[in-house]
Symmetry: C2
Subunit: 514 residues, 2 copies
């Protein structure tokens, strides 16, 4: 990198965290803004990452009995209106189609014509349109449970957008299920929350806390909303996935009814659950450092890059052939349900430029291969979980024999680092003063990086939520399930609300949030 | 099926071909219409099919060096206007977003508000928006070729829609590439046409003819359009995929320029190519019969269904365990790049209902398994390429040992049948009278089923195209490449136009078309 910087990414996290994020996304070539307000372009390396998210999640959905289907992009306005809380929640951010053709006006400019009788909303989520289909599909208890997932694009008109974290159009999956009993729908809601937590922890190497949302943060139209919450490196919480128990609200709105075994007509109980391309942003902010992106091997579009070192033309053929052979050998290795993916970067770029490009892209393992390595039948390896200076020569056979172990080790290291970071920045807080101090940057702190997860007793009083939101921009992220509360070090004993002093039976996570 | 019908689908192809198609799609549970004008709901069995289309095609795109990316759903009106022929081609069928929120009016009804300064068109195709990105990505000849594919939904406002064949919203992939020379772009255009033909023939078991379109049928804005054309069972042609050489038209509209090796600035040469969920409709109309859908094994969402025969409760556990074991054994078998997929249908349905459901869904192999089969360690097999009455007992071990061979045989049979059907309904025609007779139903023919592929000399005169279109609703489907013309039996000698008598160097396919 020469003398201009100690780090590949400028600014660093400490210098300007929000800008660091944008620069990491840019340097890793994941995505860019588009000329369309708030819509992003997901570039090949970013889309390759998303494809791996999809593959892993889709396998988990299918293993839990769900089938994929596809429903219309457009929702008639009258459908959205059927569930009052739902439409209230989305009305302010809907893209609305009002015309179905373009015609030249007097001046030759194209203007929309063919006005629709009923405007169509570009789906912000699909409960209402899928509910209408379910109403047709469900007649008898024998048709239940109905377990459907959809991979789709959705649109929510956002005023302030950031690549992956908040965009007007985003890609996601939305699960929609219908059940004969409330109990079964509750089980489904919890099961899919577990699937998301499993994916976050074991694929993204990102620790998360499962828990229920308070009423203030509930999905519009849901009875209960559950989330997984992760801590980013600026100590803010990021809601990484949600699972909703919808009760009979949407079933009543869409008339999803069935005849029970005793011949009585009943409304179904439904759930919905989703994760989106936002997870890519979460991945970036969980693992990246001041040299750029770091991708957990299990999700990397390529686990290994081979960088031929060709200083003289007469060795080119030999080096490239060695690389091609090594690539073939490595790509025959199975790794968590697919084959390893290996890139060879044989572009002619001078100096360290190519190496740095792959560091910034976060590829887990880099191998530099020149004539001398070939002579010794060895490879010169850099690992993205270690310093870029920390490179070692390894015999080729040993490298190949231990590759999956090495990758699993990197995956584990990233997870442990993230767990340690979360531990360092999680605190049980018992007094209002300490609470306010925790969420107020000190003189030595950057305003963008402070606070963390405050594990506090809270009695459920909405006035308290409103107050800390107004004062500190802090909200209840969720009410952790017992197992996850314990992992965070909660003692589990009752206490009194950190703000109001009212009696409380359990702690919640307060944090600033994305 | 009792006495009410000899066939599971009513009407039959002969009785009412268009209605037969709708009934096959419905009986196979592939898709249904939605409450949103022209938009369909793709149901799990249909979507499972599409997922297999995607998996196979995506592998082929990646093997030819393409990477996936994702671009915005919305296109600013001003972008669309940049290429005159392009906007002209799509202006009449554009869904236009004009507002970005909903608000209650005086009466409490929601109405669109927040009018956009510039209307946004829901993408009918993405040349213009992807072109704008390419203009940023391409600076030097070193950035070329740029080989990108997108899996996406697109919207073209259609007045008359039919499930899969023509819908307002459909799912597709669109490849977009940029090259340094016209020659390279031509090679790409031809290569992707070959990929489509390979997929159609070797995965869909659907013979196709590769060829160039005449100017009348060209993609709006393209220099040359090439297609693959398949013959449906009503003898109409279906355009199953297109590949466009766009010359420098879109590069000039979007300013995709690069510095050549000599430092001269040049416009890039671009291509685009796409196939859509229309292919599912093509699959239905190529292979299905009067008992419903027939799915080629390589694309089937499940290759085998196990139907437990449980007449007494005391055998239930034994039969279900036998089925579960057999499923496990079969699903460990590799089949064309993935594992076999086996369904067990253990629903309690009386009589032959379940068997007929799977016949109509087109699953390649059905196994009925009851206590007596288990005693003999055998299975009772029905193949979807044979009559439903034609079932045989096979020893379990033999069935398992030969399963991939059996499936390949079914795949091959379907392909050969389709080739034979096309051969029977393709004719070289030399006189105008014969041409008009060929495309006019005789007294004994259903108007919906007649004609076929007329291989005729044609000099390229647009007046001739207009005339046969006006008289017979017949168009030039494409000008077959030499290899495919030969397969159709073309002698390759020059001649004179079948209509005008003008000298002609090659034959084209005239047909009625979807």
């Amino acid at each position: 990198m020469g003398k201009q910087a100690q780090h590949a990414i400028s600014p660093t996290r400490q210098e300007d965290y929000p800008e660091w994020y944008q620069q990491v996304v840019r340097a890793a070539d994941l995505a860019e803004t588009s000329p369309v307000r708030g819509c992003m372009i997901v570039k090949p390396w970013g889309y390759g990452l998303w494809e791996n998210f999809q593959r892993a999640l889709d396998g988990m959905f299918k293993a839990t009995g769900h089938k994929n289907a596809y429903f219309p992009l457009f929702i008639p306005l009258s459908f959205l209106e059927k569930e009052a809380a739902h439409v209230e929640g989305f009305a302010k951010e809907c893209a609305v189609v009002t015309h179905h053709r373009l015609e030249a006006d007097g001046t030759g400019r194209l203007v929309p014509t063919g006005e629709l009788e009923e405007p169509l909303v570009v789906r912000p989520t699909s409960e209402t349109i899928i509910g209408a289909a379910f109403a047709k599909w469900v007649q008898s208890y024998r048709d239940l449970p109905l377990l459907i997932n959809q991979w789709a694009n959705v649109v929510r008109w956002e005023m302030r957008t950031r690549l992956f974290l908040r965009t007007t159009e985003f890609l996601w999956q939305e699960g929609h299920t219908a059940h004969a009993t409330a109990e079964e729908a509750h089980v489904e809601t919890a099961k899919m929350l577990d699937v998301y937590a499993d994916f976050a922890e074991n694929w993204m190497a990102m620790p998360v806390v499962r828990g229920e949302k308070t009423a203030a943060e509930r999905f519009p139209g849901a009875v209960n909303t559950f989330s997984i919450e992760a801590m980013m490196q600026d100590r803010k919480a990021l809601q990484a996935g949600t699972s909703h128990f919808l009760g009979q609200n949407f079933a009543k709105a869409a008339e999803i009814k069935f005849l029970g075994p005793e011949g009585r007509e009943e409304y179904a109980w439904t759930t919905s659950w989703g994760v989106s391309t936002r997870l890519v942003g979460a991945l970036v902010m969980t693992h990246s450092d001041d040299d750029g992106m770091i991708i957990p091997p299990k999700l990397a579009p390529a686990q290994i890059v081979l960088l031929p070192v060709i200083q003289k033309e007469d060795v080119r053929a030999q080096v490239l052939e060695y690389c091609a052979n090594l690539k073939r050998e490595l790509e025959s290795v199975a790794y968590h349900g697919r084959q390893l993916v290996v890139e060879i970067d044989d572009r002619e770029v001078r100096g360290g430029g190519k190496v740095w490009e792959w560091i910034k892209r976060g590829v887990p393992i880099r191998l530099e291969i020149g004539p001398r390595d070939i002579e010794k039948d060895s490879v010169f390896m850099g690992r993205r979980d270690r310093s870029h200076k920390d490179r070692v020569g390894v015999s080729r056979s040993e490298f190949v024999a231990t590759i999956t172990k090495t990758l699993d080790e990197i995956q584990q290291t990233l997870y442990e680092r993230a767990v340690a970071f979360r531990r360092e920045n999680t605190r049980q807080i018992a007094s209002k003063d300490e609470f306010y101090a925790f969420f107020t940057p000190t003189a030595g702190q950057k305003p963008e990086i402070h606070g963390g997860f405050a594990l506090c007793h809270f009695s459920g009083d909405e006035a308290v939520e409103e107050q800390v939101k107004a004062d500190l921009n802090v909200t209840v992220r969720n009410i952790p399930v017992a197992e996850d509360a314990q992992k965070l070090g909660c003692d589990g004993s009752p206490g009194t609300c950190v703000i109001s002093g009212a009696p409380s039976t359990r702690r919640v996570i307060f944090a600033k949030a994305y």
